[in-house]
Symmetry: C2
Subunit: 296 residues, 2 copies
Amino acid sequence: MTPPVFVFDHWATLHQQRVEQVLSRALPGDDTLPERLHEAMRYAVLGGGKRVRALLSYAAAELAGATPLAADAAAAAVELIHAFSLVHDDMPCMDDDDLRRGKPSCHKHYDDATALLVGDALQSLAFESIANTNAAQALKQVQVLAKATGSRGMCGGQSIDLQSTGKRLSRDALETMHQYKTGALIEAAALLGAYTADQTDKQLITTLTQYSQHMGLAFQVVDDILDATADTQTLGKTAGKDALQEKSTYVSLLGLEEAKALVNTLYAQTLQLLAGFGPQADPLRGIAKFICERPF
Amino acid sequence: MTPPVFVFDHWATLHQQRVEQVLSRALPGDDTLPERLHEAMRYAVLGGGKRVRALLSYAAAELAGATPLAADAAAAAVELIHAFSLVHDDMPCMDDDDLRRGKPSCHKHYDDATALLVGDALQSLAFESIANTNAAQALKQVQVLAKATGSRGMCGGQSIDLQSTGKRLSRDALETMHQYKTGALIEAAALLGAYTADQTDKQLITTLTQYSQHMGLAFQVVDDILDATADTQTLGKTAGKDALQEKSTYVSLLGLEEAKALVNTLYAQTLQLLAGFGPQADPLRGIAKFICERPF
């Protein structure tokens, strides 16, 4: 029997809708005390975003032989961490951005103090969601996610970014910054997915680590390309900010054409990495294509 | 053989020094990338504070028959969460306080963006520290600490507090606010200590929950009394702020004398709660006395 043809768009839509429901259930209702905070948390998390990190968790879970049900908490947790980082990054003392996912950012729609608390509470909720599964490898998931979130991960990357604005970075320094800032959480998304299985093979973790390092880098290069070439309406966030803030980007460092070539190389290497796997790697292949072929 | 007399001051000093060392080891060095963030995290956490929450964890662990070694991560984690909350609370968009533990608060000594990231990264580090123990009940600890930190705990209490400033609260509403804002983490500190044992008796959890609810309330009433009566130098933070910001406090609600009487009642009830225990409850008795008899 021929296996059914895998259509990534269908798979992605299905799992985007799935994590949206999981997130909606995980977030306290806006009729729960404190109502305003819960309303703002829901505003910051629900109804937006491509959910790339959640898709990665589901895709990695599929490769590891775990069900989407087992991966729900992990997928939600990485999106909660991502949403918390967006809320805090948009605040006036950080990137000071009024627009996010095509609507006013959290501190604009509410206020700075609420945005601060929203981010803080979303982080706690991410860890609570994972821990409440009582899954066999839930503690491992907490370890991986906490490290990827903190000072040697995402928050650390933000700090390096702040220190680097206005400086011309070497390519090594730029890669380090992005490995912390976005790469760490993308890697965690994949590993958390794998750890939703009751046990996980070491070789699989190595493959997923390499996969997500390639994808983390590609994701950032594409982001830099889009920031330089797309308009605000297409992006759903303020375009052209990197140049305005004199940030080092892959476009400023390599030029537009070489940046595009780098994405293509990373995509080819990633497919090669997954060559030994069957259809259970199709979602990961689809995500790689989606990340590397975002229109630019 | 007569057991040695328990001297709380010695026990407290010993465990304050102990958690200081645990925290210093848990925090990345300020020579680790990103150096400035790590320096700021150490500035915000080390060398200050009475470490009441850590003492509670160690004391509860002793009652549960666990060693101080087993309780180190829990004690450090509750202090990391507490430190993160202080850093964020002091920021201009929240309480806007320049002084903390007798020195410039984190955002004054560094900057707002760094303070934001310090708080975020300290929260992650708390969960990472617990998860890395791989202890039998570590997942339970993550569950309890995450809930106590988030929107139905400490962050939620801050949100209620912000919404309540300038309003006259009923005593019920004031108690709810403080149960979220400080009570939840104090309760978590005790429970985390108990969960450092390989297994924990349900009755013990009930006793510790009641104990910490009494102590959480007493702690807040004493704080309100001190804010109204002590000077800034004695407190190590700005005194008289509650009246200035028109916050509802136990002093504004009950008057000074009735507030003091409430603390005495809570202390007596707490000793009664521990009456059935032997010397293994001495640290908890000592903490109750310490909280209720802070000079006022």
